[in-house]
Symmetry: C2
Subunit: 752 residues, 2 copies
């Protein structure tokens, strides 16, 4: 394991690997192992081996709820004791009694529940659960077994983006491009203007378009005018005669949409829009409410994405009250998390920033306005920030906070997920707000996804590690002690032939940065043989391929191909996630080039191994990984023999404004960078076999990428291959995902 | 040559083959032969070996005109003597003098001609030529070397479909969707209505939309309302952001366009539309003028295409004057040639019909109206015809008339091209109108394309044969004697390695019909070896792959692949052209099925040959041939190992109304036929390797064919391959055609 250069990691990995190998090589049963098929290993496959889980497990206050199909259990987190809360038979009996003759026959049975997996428990103080029926949301008292109240929702009208406020008892949803609340239209905009939906193409952490105030009295929502954005025509060939499915797609440097933020008051049925001024080329991100509902916070970003401002707007007048904090960076700033007020102190909130090189928590004190705003250069030495309020770092160090899980108000702690143990891991910590004291709460291994109870005293800790497929534990935040094991999932690959998994690090092309790699070797690996290698690559921001999940997050296809006799290798190059700002932004303005150099370092390492056939190196990736695959095939034509690029970005000038300009600026600002990364200009360099795969409904990376690359190759007399998956969108999901991976497999079998 | 079962043909072929072999094996020079590249053999290639020709050779009355770049020659057809008629220097001197200051500097030089290849000589009685300049059409006196008259045309306005009447001196053209004459708008229709352009998707022999009357006083034109036709969206990916190029494409069984015929009078600037009644689901085809310009003839067809009517409309009132003749057939009738009046007798015209099984000439006598219309069953025993006038067959027999070349008014002869010698040939004959006496005029070999002089006394005979790349002779129609050899083209493949070409016949799947095949064997063929075979197939109506052209019309790619070591085989199955009605229409309502059975007969023959590797049979074709390729791969998965289907029809319900319904009826009328020939339903049968190639701007066979087949294959878990040629339309022409054939070549090299 000479490549494990990081001490802590080496220890951990060595242990993990030993266990992983043991697991794969010595199954519990003595029956002969079965060779898994793609149907076993690819999500969507008929016999897909899911890792067992507990669906819908959640908190009701500090009581853990465990739903099943026919029964609903409460679990006492102190001791894991289970109590039956409700049965489906009883609930449905009550629900059936609600059907009135006027509901009509076609509604009969529609209020019945099929299982308890998606009921919710948003009222910690009441024995109520929320049943999200197709016709209406029903609040059900599971102690008295009776109907409490029903909220008619948008089922009939085809409503989506449903957002229910348990506090206010209102229900928001969208029909077409307009927003409705409690069956009343909030907006009446023409086509081209979207209301109540996610905006800015889901960048900046935005995933939705409605934001209820804490007590549920007001609804903030996005309004996005896309009418000035050029349409990209996708063609739906499943109709009798093909039809156009036009999407508003602003390409880098082109006119973009304009976003506004509205506030709707269900009591008055009035809507107010924030007075932000001309919204052209501005991003309004990370909306959050003041605890008193009287103002709204958002983080505004300029189109250049190099200057962010934390702004407070009055919810009563819509006017800007103040700018609290600003950041500038010569490359980009990327706010992705709304501010969070401390539940026990309405004058303090937590702001997350990468200003010091890693995402960390900063505590702002609204009670301490500075006489003069304080401007400073952050620890990275790049950019600057400007604060109008006292601001203290709550967390610090060369690791990053991934998520705020919640608070323990009594102890005045904030609970977080962070990478402090290892960049591959995600562990749970409590941070004492008073002094930033950090206390680890979990077992220090693997990747933990935790839900915090209402009071912050218990966690549902859903975790896996390289040797553990999944455990779900209850854990006390007082001391991190496990109070109950809710699930120890069996190995999903039990009885199957499995490759071995190894990881390590190597030096990036800069000669100093450690990069993590993962290698899968076929079962029965013979070091005297020469194996072909397939590199699976992503390589872009916001993602990390090697994590301390089960089998280091090796994908089903990786396992399958290793079983077929390939070595599968993955390297998280510079530019990828969870390693901090500098690691990510060294690719600024020339996406794909530094990343490619790092991947070639991986190839050099592979070629140094006696059992690797250096003349048979393949590469495969999707999306950014499709760009990487194509770029590697073209920039290093003598290194890679065969590649499969899925949904590739071919030229950043065909990619959208939000993501693209963050990393590339506009084509007008950065013509050299766009030219150097336009793979069509390298089309003449294609030498190996390259299969391009694109979905005909790819709304993220439009088919023009691949089609215009084909044209460039035809012009250059080079010969890529092609496949198109009709009706799919930027990836092939569902049952067809097996077909996709069979297609990819055959390509490497044919050409590598 | 045991497969040459037809006596006449066998003799001919044997001679031809001997010569072909000799030609290929014993080149004139003794230098080592060069292996030709695709650039040498594919049209569009940088070093493409064109067969030499004489561009623009034509008649001026009875004087043969031979244009060159700098000079224009007259050739006396009696003896071949050449005279210089004009020089480019002199003509341009005159043209330059016409440029007036008001023409503006940007027009300077635009009236000059670059060569004489596209000047025309439509005035037999005047020493005038027509120079079709970008700005205007100029009549130039080449005896006096002076400008006669200029007709401003549509160059400035981007006009197309230019139609000049030398008799009337008017110029018609279209701009956008509207028709103009002499720079005045004739129609002012909105988008969706096309005027002055070809209609009915160029079926029924229609190739243009304007028809000047004999003296050039009136213009008949088509008006096609397509506004009710569904649009198919093609996507242009060469724009900054992809744009839709929507075409009106009526798919089988769907609402089709409506056509009207207008008559415009330039003298009055008035337009009259024929009063045909509701044009819904009617085809108005084969427009021609009465010699006196007072009426118009057209052949009307119902949407079912099983009932045609020769109609005469008044050009003065637009009213139907009479129906002269009708044909019905249980499958289809397909008029493709307008009537032709005898130049010496305005009461007689020639009608062409396949009613007796082969396309022949019928002489109608307007002077002999029948008291009662005569109805009869034709010789084929299928269908019926009904004539109101005396009607005599001019030609008869199991061969077909391909074209009327013109008339010899003095001798009262009609000159035709016909297949009387062999279905593979096209030879020139004169037919004595008095009694139908047929006299062959050419050498009885090969394929002749002839232009008849004004008086009908001489022919420019441009011909090739299996051993002759091209000759252009002058020939007297009095006795068929060659009076001059204008060109004997050298072998374009001189100095290149060439395969040998053989042809023969075999029995169709019906056990009785002779089918012609062509086989290319690699140079240096070794009968002791086993060769893989690629079948190149078209197979649909209106085309014939094996003709008695040079090397039996073997294509450049066929030669290339034979040189690579493949045997190339082509068979004209039942359903293809030039073999008569029954041969063609046996495929009615189930296109592709009988055709496929015949192709399998070809494979059986191939497998009977000791030098054929029966496990390595490939197939390739485009359009209908793409359908055949895909159908053969699916219906005979154990016969064909690899296929390349270009621009394939996958399902006839995605094909257009005119062509598709002729052979298939509508999906509503023939659901079983559509189902049986929908290749998507056979997607699960794919076993061999199949590459589908489609052009993204295929307006004939829209990309939905291939894309919906891919979806069917994904659903069925089968694995075709794909390539798309952006910007091309139903075939890959120009420089990219070399890329296409390299792509196809590689596929067979990889997978066959």
């Amino acid at each position: 394991m000479k490549h494990l250069t990081c001490g802590l990691l080496a220890t951990f990995l060595a242990a993990a690997l030993y266990s992983a190998d043991t697991m794969a090589q010595a199954p519990a049963t003595q029956q002969p192992l079965k060779m898994p098929t793609l149907e076993d290993l690819i999500p969507g496959g008929e016999t897909y081996r899911y890792t067992q889980s507990l669906y819908g497990v959640q908190w009701w206050g500090d009581v853990c709820i465990k739903p099943e199909i026919d029964s609903l259990f409460a679990i006492d987190p102190k001791n894991g004791r289970e109590t039956l809360l409700a049965t489906r038979a009883k609930v449905n009996e009550v629900l059936r009694s609600l059907i009135t003759p006027t509901d009509g026959q076609e509604q009969e049975g529609k209020s019945e529940i099929q299982h308890f997996y998606n009921v919710e428990f948003p009222w910690p103080d009441k024995p109520h659960m929320l049943i999200k029926g197709a016709k209406r949301y029903i609040v059900y008292d599971f102690e008295k077994n009776e109907f409490v109240i029903g909220y008619p929702q948008a089922g009939k009208a085809g409503g989506t983006n449903i957002d229910f406020t348990p506090e206010g008892g209102h229900i928001a949803y969208t029909v077409g491009n307009n927003l409705y609340v409690d069956n009343r239209p909030v907006t009446r905009e023409p086509e081209g203007i979207l209301c109540g939906q996610s905006v800015h193409r889901n960048e900046f952490g935005i995933t939705k378009g409605t934001f209820w105030s804490p007590a549920g009295n007001l609804l903030a929502f996005y309004r996005m005018d896309e009418s000035m954005v050029t349409e990209y025509p996708l063609v739906d060939i499943t109709q009798r005669i093909g039809t156009v499915d036009a999407i508003r797609y602003p390409m880098a440097g082109m006119t973009s949409h304009k976003v506004q933020v509205g506030i709707y008051n269900p009591a008055t049925e009035k809507t107010l829009y924030l007075n932000t001024g001309d919204p052209t080329d501005r991003y309004f991100t990370n909306i959050s409410w003041a605890p008193d509902e009287r103002s709204l916070f958002l983080i505004e970003l300029n189109r250049d994405q190099n200057h962010s401002k934390l702004c407070q707007y009055s919810a009563e007048t819509g006017e800007l009250m103040q700018v609290l904090y600003e950041e500038e960076h010569p490359k980009y700033v990327e706010p992705q998390q709304p501010i969070r007020f401390l539940p026990w102190d309405d004058t303090k909130f937590i702001y997350q920033s990468q200003r010091d090189g890693y995402n960390h928590l900063y505590l702002f004190d609204l009670g301490k306005k500075l006489d003069t705003p304080q401007s400073a250069r952050p620890e990275t030495g790049e950019g600057s920030y400007l604060t109008h309020y006292a601001c203290t770092p709550l967390t610090q160090g060369p690791w990053l906070v991934q998520d705020i899980l919640g608070f323990n108000a009594k102890k005045k702690e904030v609970l977080i997920a962070a990478t402090k143990e290892s960049p591959l891991q995600s562990n749970v910590y409590k941070v004492r707000v008073k002094d930033g004291k950090l206390t680890p709460l979990d077992n220090g291994q693997g990747v933990h996804q935790a839900q915090l109870s209402a009071s912050g005293t218990y966690l549902i800790d859903n975790w896996s590690s390289p040797t553990v497929p999944r455990c779900i534990d209850l854990r006390a935040t007082a001391n991190g002690r496990t109070t109950a094991h809710l699930l120890i999932a069996p190995d999903p690959f039990e009885g199957l032939v499995m490759p071995t998994v190894e990881t390590g690090t190597l030096k990036a092309a800069d000669g100093q940065t450690d990069l993590y790699w993962r290698m899968l070797k076929p079962a029965g690996f013979d070091p005297a043989k020469k194996y072909p290698v397939i590199i699976y690559v992503y390589g872009g921001p916001h993602a990390q391929m090697i994590t301390a999940n089960y089998m280091y997050a090796a994908r089903g296809w990786d396992l399958y191909m290793a079983n077929r006799g390939y070595i599968l290798f993955t390297l998280d190059n510079r530019g990828s996630a969870n390693r901090g700002l500098e690691f990510e932004n060294c690719t600024f303005r020339h996406l794909g080039i530094e990343e490619g150099k790092d991947q070639v370092k991986g190839v050099e390492y592979l070629k140094s191994l006696p059992y690797v056939d250096g003349s048979r190196i393949g590469v495969h990736g999707w999306s950014f990984g499709g760009h990487m695959t194509t770029a590697l095939m073209l920039r290093y034509p003598d290194v890679f023999k065969a590649g499969v690029a899925g949904g590739p970005v071919i030229s950043w000038d065909l990619y959208e404004v939000m993501y693209g300009e963050r990393y590339m600026d506009t084509p007008q600002q950065n013509p050299d960078g766009y030219e150097a990364t336009d793979l069509r200009r390298l089309a003449s360099r294609l030498k190996g076999r390259l299969l391009l795969i694109h979905d005909d409904h790819d709304r993220t990376c439009v088919p023009q990428h691949t089609l215009s690359f084909l044209k460039a190759c035809v012009d250059a007399r080079t010969y890529p291959d092609l496949f198109i998956y009709p009706t799919h969108d930027h990836n092939v999901l569902g049952r067809d995902r097996v077909h996709l991976h069979e297609k990819i497999t055959r390509y490497f079998d044919d050409h590598l």
